[in-house]
Amino acid sequence: MNLNPDQVKKLLSQMLLIRRFEEKAAEMYTKEKIRGFLHLYIGEEAVAVGVLQALQPDDNVMCTYREHGHALVRGMEPGVIMAEMYGKLEGCSRGRGGSMHLFDAKTKFYGGNAIVAGHLAMAVGLGLADKKLQRNQITCCFFGEGAMAEGAFHEAMNLAALWQVPVLFVCENNLYAMGTALRYTHAQQDLEKKGAAYGIASSSVDGMDLMAVMQAANEAVDSIRQTGQPHFLVCNTYRFRAHSMFDAELYREKKEVEEWKQRDPITSFKELLLQQKMLNDEDYQAIEKQVQQEVEQAVAFAESCSFEPVEELLKYTYSEKAN
């Protein structure tokens, strides 16, 4: 892959923005500005950045509750995302969804879904609509390896293969479904095989390596666009933080976490760029500064926003206008 210095800086700053944005979100959670569930993506940044760069603005994206990173990369405003997490009216879902339910029609971001595997069949449906309407778009659907134990995963895979829909299924395998390790939840731990079993082209990649993810995603997306057929991509990664803010992490050793942190996707990418002289320390500092500013602005924006009047409680239970 040939990338110019501007491209690599953009990729690095996207990963860094996710990291700093979420660190700030965690801080705001402890200050009780953000409530409910908050699932951090820290450690997995290379997956969202590497996969989403392969998409076009017209493509559809569907995610889980661990979706702040994807929303940022997709181009949603950090301030609007932060406002959503604050429960404010100016948030991307009017504050009604919070952290787990970021939605944005402009960037075709069909949400954070908080029922594990609940969105996979919908992704098939989006693909089906694109196919029927002969739109040259694809749908990209992210989920965890935990989701692959649900019947919904298997039904969606079969339908996708049967109906030949242009969907990229991306499994973010971070080795734990909440506190239950992969080895306790999957008899067949070679996850890639589960796509292949349905006749879907499947691949897997080191999800801590941005360039590798980009390459795998580009290949997958190219083939989907050419053939109109689904692809199943497993990205092997790790979450550095707890499952959510309520998790005491009794199920894994600190040592294991530390070992994975040695493979921090941001540090590795930065080191690679420094080595290849695509980036110098000054550039990096400038990126850090820019990202910090964006995050501060996001918080300032969220703080300045308002809460929806309680009189509007019942709004959007049903549509206000005809279709």
Binding site: G87, K88, G98, M178, T180
Partner: protein, 328 residues
């Protein structure tokens, strides 16, 4: 005699431990019940104490492990299946409605299903629309099931044993918002009657019928109303199916006024059913129409002020009852 303070969480845990110790056939399975210690720390250390044969971590496969629970019950075990929260229970609804609830009947009485399903339920932690369901009415709709609602510490501690002794499938709803709440348990209490509703407070002016988180809310409201000279009777329905009509009728016959409180949205709810039964059985006892305070008809929003506005609050119970009594 006063017991020691105990959290609702600890009540559930003690009940599970007791059940595991009492009967070798009992085992518990569910998502994150083992290594994680339970999504709400209810089963913390039980894996260490009882081992992986009796505390089984399951994959995310609600339909699978609930179905397997039904099968294990048929095969002679006494499973406690934990569905992490009610929000995920619909993935298993087919197993519950089409197998657990029907096998005894369809088999002409040959195959009963001695299964207990526990799930945590409720609104109040700003978890937004997909994680704030109050689906007790949905399950209470299904013949063949016994539906219990543990709205008090006492029931959280003592409902499990009789549920396991029941030959038929029992679902116990537990309430996440109560987990950290401490109460004293009566020391002499050793069991609860899972056939009957329970009068939690006696009164003569009006009956509140409620369940789940409505119980403590209604008791708080009753306390305040007592200051104003209004004697409220609080009836914890607690057995949502089959409904204990006799306790309801007795209370209405005594107070002549009925008020029903629940978090679930109003339409086609437990309160709809209770109101209808009162109408059928006690019409001529009533001094005023039955009134209800229920959840708003909306998917639950994330922000605190909107979430609070979506479910009955004690202050609303107080003012509604004052109004009702004035106008009667």
């Amino acid at each position: 005699m006063a017991g020691n303070l105990i959290t609702y969480r600890e009540c559930i845990k003690q009940a599970i431990r007791e059940a595991l110790l009492a009967d070798e056939r009992v085992f518990m399975m569910g998502e994150d019940v083992g290594h994680y210690g339970g999504a709400f720390a209810v089963s913390k250390n039980l894996l260490q104490e009882f081992g992986p044969e009796r505390i089984m971590d399951t994959p995310l496969s609600e339909a699978g492990f609930v179905g397997a629970g039904i099968g294990a019950a048929l095969g002679g075990m006494r499973p406690i299946v934990e569905i992490m929260t009610v929000n995920f229970s619909l993935l298993a609804l087919d197993q519950i409605a089409n197998n657990a609830a029907t096998l005894l009947h369809m088999s002409g009485g040959q195959f009963n299903v001695p299964l207990v399903i526990r799930m945590s339920t409720g609104i109040g932690r700003q978890l937004a629309a997909q994680h704030s369901h109050s689906w007790e009415p949905l399950f209470a709709h299904l013949p063949g099931l016994r539906i219990l609602s543990a709205g008090t510490h006492e029931d959280a501690r003592h409902m499990l044993a009789p549920a396991l002794a029941d030959p038929d499938p029992v679902i116990i709803f537990e309430y996440t918002s109560l987990l950290n709440m401490e109460k004293e348990l009566p020391e002499d209490l050793t069991g609860v009657d899972i056939q009957k509703a329970k009068v939690r407070r006696e009164g003569k002016d009006i009956s509140i019928f409620t369940y789940g988180t409505g119980v403590y809310k209604s008791l708080t409201a009753a306390e305040e109303l007592a200051q104003a000279g209004i004697e409220v009777e609080v009836v914890d329905l607690r057995v949502l199916r089959p409904l204990d009509e006799e306790t309801i009728v007795a209370s209405v016959t005594k107070t002549n006024r009925a008020f029903v409180v629940e978090d679930a949205s109003k339409s086609v709810s437990v309160s709809s059913e209770v109101s209808a039964r009162i109408m059928e059985r006690c019409f001529y006892e009533l001094d005023a129409p039955v009134q209800r305070l229920c959840g708003a008809e909306v998917p639950i929003p994330y922000p605190k002020h909107l979430e609070d506005a979506s479910v009955p609050q004690p202050a609303q119970i107080v003012s509604a009852i004052k109004t009702l009594l004035q106008h009667a």
